[in-house]
Amino acid sequence: MLKRTFRTGLAIGLAVATAIAAAAITYERYDTKTLKRTIRRDAVLCGVNTGLPGFSIPDEKGNWTGFDVDFCRAVAAAIFDDPSKVTFVALDANDRFKELQSRKVDILSRNSTWSMARETNYDLYFPAVAYYDGAGFMIPASRNIDSALDLDGSKVCVQDGTTTKMHVADFFRTNNLKYEEVKEPKLDEVVKAYQSGRCNAISADVSQLYALRLNLGKPADHVILPDLISKEPLAPVVRQRDDDWMMIVKWTMYAMINAEELGITSKNIDQALKSTKPDVMRLVGTESNYGEQLGLPRDWAARIIRHVGNYGEVYERNVGSESKLGIPRGINQLWNAGGIQYAPPIR
């Protein structure tokens, strides 16, 4: 009798322990509660670059600004109607994906290239492209060249150990052009080599070249060629298996791109709320309720546009014509205005 009770107790105990373990594993693996935790915390946890001009940089008071920073502010605006409800966590390149996996942040908005291996190896998801970057070239304006195909015989400075070095080699080989590689282990040494004339072209990601140009004596004496020789689609990153959160991140990006295409800006949002154009009404929430399916209020997109702006506003303010970087919209222009930024419709 006693033995039987013991056995039953043991069985029940084991069953409970197994259930708890299974629940814990399920929770760990299928965590679908990021939105809930974000709301409870009253802030979005946003992983950003430790300091990259135009993309994410803190001032001396710890206020963050930049293109990647504004994206997290947009998510906060959609959820809280308050773009300041973001806690920024500066992450370096090496452990950014692990920090996201271990839930130190809700979103990684840190100039990260979307690639297949990064999604599959780290169990992550890149919901939508924020910025199409790519390796390119900067040359002295005096060379009077406006195409990378005219770089035959150039001496090209690159940073050793980067993918840029490989892209440069591929580009010259594919196009049957000759070049001389001048490699340096560190980026500032690469710039020094270029400045001292040891090379007459420098290659890095184009967004980086614009930042480097700012620090050259006379920026106007250097031009960045419009050609991109590699694909570096920069995108925010979230964990897999939290589809509700992934949808919020994805549609925040698309709301900003659609807003630009429809001509809705932070300045005319009140006028847009009175619009009778169906596309505009669906986006700002005066017709139907597309926010509800995301677990957000009806005016989720209007909040984003009011507090942060549309895609073009965010671009120009941080990295484009209104910023020191002055990067032309180029490939990041809307699909109907010379670029490839294209958002599925909200309907």
Binding site: D146, S147, G263, G320, G326, P328, I331, G338
Partner: protein, 197 residues
Amino acid sequence: MTGFRSLLAASLTALGLLLSPSLGLAQQYDPGDEPGLIADDSYALPSQWRRQMVFFRTNEPPGTIIVQTSERYLYLVQGNGRALRYGIGVGREGFQWQGLLRISRKAEWPDWVPPAEMIERQPYLPRFMAGGPGNPLGARALYLGATIYRIHGTNRPDTIGTAVSSGCFRLVNADVTDLYDRVPVGTKVVVRQRPEL
């Protein structure tokens, strides 16, 4: 015959609608026009408005001019995914139009005859001004179809990047001269506006 006439009338109306800026009747000083002011050639254009080769994806053939007024840029399509981009000044609120036209005439140091619509709004303007450095049309003008609009130079290089004109597109004199030398009469000009709410 009647058919042709009504067709003609319809197309003229359509063209009119396409190119109709909402013409305000208020007499308004136009900060972009300063007849007689000699252009300051030493003025350094802010870097974002300087002529530059950029990535530009389009199905329009090379040689086409595309004006994106909300951006304040004029693109000369080069093909192969690129375009030469010029900073421009555009029409102020209410003087913006969009459509497809062709360059109908080119002129160096053009004379300026402000159109009747402009005189009505700004009666202080001269009725005629001979071409030259003090002329608001600047060094070159590209006439667009049969409209009153032009792509022209300016004696106010500081207005590049702003919306002040009566619907014309202005470039600094060095840029309009560069563009003038690259495009023939008959060049297709596409003008795009930000969509209306």
